[in-house]
């Protein structure tokens, strides 16, 4: 099926958004999940609850909050303008911020579970062998939690690709700038061009199915916390 230039642009934009947002969500979600998994307490519970909020809030509501918060009259927007940055709404980076926030729960859930299941003992063992906490994290925790990281990455990527309500609100559906694949489908539906909408939807479904199959392959049942790779044997 040949893609029109508009479709190809939307696809490229979606993939770019997926990759950038997934990387940033992992970067942000890993320390957060680690911190959430390492203790108890009311504050930690509250932060954990806030981190799952994006699942509960309707996307257009989340998009509305972000639009107001990041807009010219919002607190975050005013700080931005003060620092001489361009405002985020209706730009690609606005989409990135929105996607990171709405994908965060899909990264925090599997990572936090994995870190909790790991327990403190492997790290204590590493410490007695003289590893610094960072070194221990990189060489002990990361390899053991690899399946959880893969799950988190694929979920974040798939979610960023399929997200509609938030990106419509914060992005403004501008061709080549913020019109991602899901918005292009919406445009086709509004035009009554269901054939084009079906074709792009099929593409989106195919990407999602392949993503999920990859997770299953890398992450077989009962091996959520697989054994450490035996590289040194």
């Amino acid at each position: 099926m040949p893609l029109s230039p508009a479709d190809a642009g939307a696809l490229l934009l979606s993939l770019k958004l997926g990759l950038v947002a997934t990387s940033l969500t992992l970067l942000l979600g890993t320390p957060l999940s680690w911190w959430l998994a390492r203790g108890e307490g009311a504050f930690r519970q509250a932060v954990g609850a806030v981190a799952t909020m994006p699942i509960v809030l309707p996307p257009t509501v989340l998009g509305f909050y972000l639009l107001v918060l990041l807009g010219p009259r919002g607190p975050a927007g005013q700080i931005f303008a003060h620092l001489g940055f361009r405002l985020l709404p209706f730009t690609f980076w606005g989409l990135v911020v929105a996607s990171v926030i709405s994908s965060l729960p899909f990264v925090v859930q599997p990572l936090r579970n994995a870190f909790e299941a790991l327990g403190p003992r492997p790290l204590e063992a590493a410490a007695t062998l003289g590893a610094t906490p960072l070194h221990a994290f990189l060489t002990v925790v990361l390899p053991r939690a690899r399946p959880a990281f893969l799950t988190a990455a694929v979920m974040a990527f798939a979610h960023a690709l399929g997200e509609f309500g938030v990106v419509l609100m914060i992005g403004g559906n501008i061709p080549d700038v913020t019109r991602v694949l899901s918005l292009q489908i919406y445009v086709y539906v509004e035009m009554g061009r269901y054939g084009s909408a079906h074709a792009l939807s099929a593409l989106l479904v195919a990407i999602a199915v392949v993503s999920m199959i990859l997770v299953q392959l890398w992450n077989p049942r009962g091996r959520r916390l697989g054994p450490a790779p035996r590289r040194h044997l």
Binding site: G9, L12, L13, L15, K16, L19, V20, S23, T60, F64, L67, V68, G71, P72, R73, G74, G77, L87, P89, F90, F92, L168, M169, G172, N173, I174, P175, D176, V177, R179, Y186, V187, V189, E190, M191, G192
Partner: protein, 254 residues
């Protein structure tokens, strides 16, 4: 995977979308006007060389976005109320508002012969669901309920009404046969002035208040010659007027 990831990311980052050219300007277009606006914009670009970059969405969403700094130079709304409000709140350029199209309401069924030319089917009943868009969100929904009220049928049919969030949802409920019939926009089932499929009753215009779609120049477009020219083109050019008519809208009296 890890080896691929970084080069891929770098590739995507350098292939940034093409920057908008200087004479490009952004226009927010109500979703129901997607097809005609696309055609009008193409005709305008052919004639002038300036490119309107169209965004499609719901009128309510656009209002929120414009209030929060959206870069749109012009707005083709699905109603008359929103452009008026934007004008009042100083977000639109005063005196630039005009009606570019009038919507026509039809009672439609995807089944040929189901809806008669006089709308008697509403009195006869015998259907499970009648789709009408949300009157608070969609002018066509408001008009549909107005028709039922004026015909004295609203109390009897209230329990059969399924409410679509917007006119596209409502159309889809009827198109898929989940509702036997519904009030939708003539523009949704009209091609070159003719009914494309199913059966329809053109509701007489005196049974509902006019469905006016207004356009307005927004503050970001105040200094833009091409944006002003585009609005003039929508209002006055024979090409635009013909496109609007061909999609099942009526033109405002001049």
């Amino acid at each position: 995977m890890r080896k691929l990831f970084l080069p891929l990311l770098a590739l995507l980052l350098v292939t940034s979308p093409a920057a908008l050219r200087a004479e490009d300007f952004q226009v927010a277009v109500a979703a129901n006007f997607t097809s005609p606006a696309t055609e009008i914009a193409a005709a305008f670009e052919r004639e002038t060389g300036d490119r309107p970059v169209l965004s499609f969405g719901s009128t309510g969403n656009f209002k929120t976005q414009i209030e929060n700094g959206a870069p749109f130079a012009a707005f083709l709304s699905a109603d008359a109320k929103t452009p008026g409000e934007l004008e009042e709140s100083g977000l639109a350029v005063p005196g630039t508002r005009f009606t570019y199209a009038r919507g026509a309401l039809v009672l439609w069924s995807a089944t040929p012969g189901y809806v008669d030319g006089k709308g008697e089917v509403l009195r006869k009943g015998g259907f499970r669901f009648l789709a009408v868009a949300n009157p608070d969100l969609a002018p066509y929904g408001f008009a549909g309920r107005e028709v039922l009220e004026r015909l004295g049928l609203l109390p009897g049919l209230e329990s059969k009404i399924v409410t679509g969030n917007n006119i596209t949802d409502t159309f889809q409920a009827v198109k898929t046969g989940n509702a036997e019939l519904g009030f939708i926009a003539w523009s949704q089932v009209c091609k070159d002035g003719k009914l494309t499929e199913g059966s329809a009753y053109m509701v007489p215009a005196d049974l509902y208040g006019p469905i006016l779609q207004d356009a307005v120049l927004l503050k970001p477009g105040e200094g833009s010659g091409p944006a002003r020219a585009f609005l003039e083109y929508v209002r006055d050019s024979p090409a635009a007027r013909e496109i609007i008519l061909s999609y099942g809208y009526e033109l405002p009296a001049r």
